[in-house]
Amino acid sequence: MNNTVLPPLRDLEPEVQQEIDECVERWSDQEGNLIMILHEIQNHHGYVPREASLLLAEKTGVPLARIYEVLTFYHYFRLVPQGKHQITVCNGTACYLKGSARLLSELENRLEIKEGETTDDRLFHLETVRCIGCCGMAPAVVVDGTTVGKVATTDIAGIIEKIHIQEETNE
């Protein structure tokens, strides 16, 4: 995450400005609201754009450095846009014991990217997570928010293919 190149700054669209205004407003009377505001921004955009952080610093008076201190400390926050489809491999202990490493390398091979990267066409983003609390279904993979349990290496091709088909039919 630390050595990713941040995209160049853009002017925020008025709607986005307004949305951040509203978010700050909503949380204004709550103590320690920074992380919750960042969660909302990320939920909306899939990541926390630098423009949004700048605006947030301006609105709340929290120094930008403190906002980034928080953003870079927590694994959950993302600083760059992700691919359209998220594939997350659980690397918790239960999944690890049941071979999540094999699933990851199969995904890496098929998508031709490493963990934490996005494919060139921005279609897939691959990452790992520490236990999603579905250990009974280990090894588990989360595809666009849906957990798939007891995944075998041989299932991986199908998972990717399904998304491709989905994309084609949508076009």
Binding site: H39, H75, G133, G136
Partner: protein, 606 residues
């Protein structure tokens, strides 16, 4: 179509049978409740058409009733069959056919259905048969028993004593009392199952001191890891004078390989909320926070719903039920940092800062959130409290051992037949949990040990599995209770690898504030990875032990202090494996790595 509207469909929270999720339960008036597991779309359709429509049970999906009957009071309507023996293959089909043939011979085939069950919760007892609706269960059934089974049990409703399985249920559900039973998104349903009864009674009839006394009497100790007595913690937080006090529910559940907090939050959010309200009442807090992982969106949604619903009914907010006492609760999301489960880091995170731990004392009970007295409790601890307040401290203290009272929920996963949540009285042995409840090893590869307590814990090797689980016994073995994760490892799991895995977790998650944890962890990981590649040197193990010592003594917070535990524990019980790598060199390491990648048995390689 009209019939469709007459059958209510209810959603419930997690039952805990993780191995068979998703589950569907069918309740029919006057008939036994049937729980189906591994329900995909096809099975769901079949349940509707076959079971609901025609009153016929579905083959192969039933998880038998865990209530075991002793008498047969009415006509037998169905017979569940399951071969529970470990390695003798599957005789289920054969017996199903034989019983069916016998029934046909006696003209009973139309009235008694014979189906195979997915799991009856009985293991290593040979062919097992359960009669419905009575729940009378026979084990070690042989072919020659079938005639009597039909002529005596089905025809005359007599129990065959020599086959009757009457072992008591090892589980005792207190924390999980409503999981899988209530609709977690309905306050009314929770109220029907006695939720908030304890709270209302405490609020209207008791003093905060009385509530604290009850919890003290129960002997409840924190289920988040350290096992600090909950009543004492509340008392310490109650004592100091302050304009504001806080309670926090620690729902961070950072332990990889554990899912009990998630299941309780999703399955019975009202129990946790009620526990938090009781804690707040006991210490005099004005506000409570649920600190929940953002990775648990369903848990977040259900807790939020529980908060909203109770606030609507006046159970939460200003002047609760006219008592003059006000209390409100809110959610704060975690953001994927394991260290935020540690109390001082958690407080920093709620305050909107990065989750760096602070030296203690001062303890949060004196100086916590925004410098005010704060009590932090684990999800499971809080979920047990309403039961304790409703039934009395003594009732809870009856379970467990002298120093470890009550029950504990464990999340059993790994190389075990049926991964699931179990709740047992303290003092139950690890073996009873793994073999008696969860069915023992998966794929018939012998179990090597059970890891408890996640990255802060250690491994209990197979010969020690009979150890009764208490806080003291586990720490004597160099492990901890932790939050209750139990990872079963078999002979194909390499201890050097596993030790490195846990350590890598802690190294990645270290906040970096103190050198022993930041640098020590990193250096030790280098050593372990070197050994795993077969490049270890004889002095390495000593060096590892020394780094462990330094980290334990000098780290700032629990993360660094406990990170060496899995390493030390593997070294203590499996030093030969480390030595084998060191002596075997790179070719040995490569051979093992290849075998593992191919999923082969390590025994055959070494």
């Amino acid at each position: 179509m009209a019939a469709k509207c007459q059958i209510p469909i209810r959603r419930v929270g997690s039952y805990g049978y993780a191995f068979a999720d998703p589950l569907v339960e069918v309740k029919t008036a006057g008939a036994p409740t049937i729980l189906y597991g591994l329900v995909d779309e096809e099975a769901a359709a079949a349940i509707v058409y076959q079971h609901v429509g025609q009153g016929k049970l579905l083959d192969g999906h039933i998880i038998g009733s865990r209530q075991r009957g002793k008498t047969i009071d009415g006509p037998v309507t169905a017979i569940l069959v399951r071969d529970s023996s470990r390695d003798e293959g599957d005789k289920t089909e054969f017996f199903k056919e034989s019983i069916h043939a016998e029934l046909t011979e006696h003209g009973l085939a139309d009235t008694v259905q014979v189906v195979s069950a997915l799991d009856l919760g009985i293991y290593d007892e040979g062919l097992t048969v359960q009669l419905l609706p009575s729940g009378v269960t026979y084990t070690n059934v042989l072919s020659r028993d079938i005639t009597r089974l039909v002529t005596e049990s089905v025809q005359k409703q007599e129990v065959l004593d020599h086959l009757l399985y009457s072992s008591p249920d090892l589980q005792e559900r207190i924390v999980l009392r409503n999981c899988g039973i209530i609709d977690p998104e309905s306050l009314d349903d929770a109220l029907r199952h006695d939720s908030y009864k304890g709270f209302v009674r405490a609020l209207t009839e008791q003093s905060p001191e009385q509530v604290i006394d009850t919890v003290k009497t129960s002997g409840l100790r924190g289920r988040g890891g350290a096992g600090f007595p909950t009543g004492v913690k509340w008392e310490l937080t109650r004592k100091p004078e302050a304009d504001r006090k806080f309670v926090i529910c620690n729902a961070d559940e950072g332990d990889p390989g554990a899912f009990m907090d998630r299941s309780v939050l999703e399955g019975d959010p009202h129990a946790v909320l009620e526990g938090l309200m009781l804690a707040a009442f006991a210490i005099g807090a004005c506000k409570g926070y649920f600190y929940i992982r953002a990775e648990y969106p369903l848990a977040v949604k259900r807790i939020q719903k529980a908060i909203d619903q109770t606030r609507e009914r006046g159970l939460l907010g200003e002047n609760i039920l006219g008592s003059g006492w006000s209390f409100d609760a809110a959610i704060r999301l975690g953001a994927g940092a394991f260290v935020c489960g540690e109390e001082t880091a958690l407080i920093a995170s709620i305050e909107g800062r990065r989750g760096s731990p602070e030296p203690r004392p001062p303890y949060p009970s004196v100086q916590g959130l925004w410098g005010k007295p704060t009590s932090i409790n684990n999800v499971e601890t809080l979920a047990a409290v309403p039961w304790i307040v409703a039934k009395g401290g003594e009732a809870y203290a009856r379970f467990g051992t002298e120093k470890s009272k009550g029950t504990k929920v464990f999340a059993v996963t790994g190389k075990v037949l049926n991964a699931q949540l179990v709740e047992v009285p303290m003092g139950t042995s690890v073996r009873d949990i793994i073999f008696g409840i969860c069915g023992g090893a998966q794929d018939a590869v012998p179990i090597k040990g059970v890891q408890t307590g996640g990255p802060s814990g250690g491994i209990i090797p197979e010969p020690y599995l009979d150890t009764p689980i208490t806080y003291e016994n586990l720490s004597e073995l160099g492990s901890i209770m932790g939050s209750g994760g139990m990872l079963v490892m078999n002979e194909n799991d390499c201890m050097v690898d596993v030790a490195a895995f846990y350590l890598k977790f802690c190294v990645d998650e270290s906040c970096g504030k103190c050198a022993p944890c930041r640098a020590g962890g990193y250096q030790m990981l280098q050593l372990l990875q070197k050994i795993a590649k077969g490049r270890g040197e004889p002095g390495d193990l000593d060096l590892i032990r020394r780094i462990c010592k330094a980290m334990q003594c000098a780290s700032l917070c629990g993360l660094g202090q406990t990170a060496p535990n899995p390493v030390l524990s593997s070294l203590r019980f499996f030093e030969d494996e480390f030595l084998a790598y060191i002596e075997g060199g790179t070719s040995y390491a490569r051979k093992l790595k290849k075998a593992r990648a191919e999923g082969r048995n390590l025994k055959d390689v070494v």
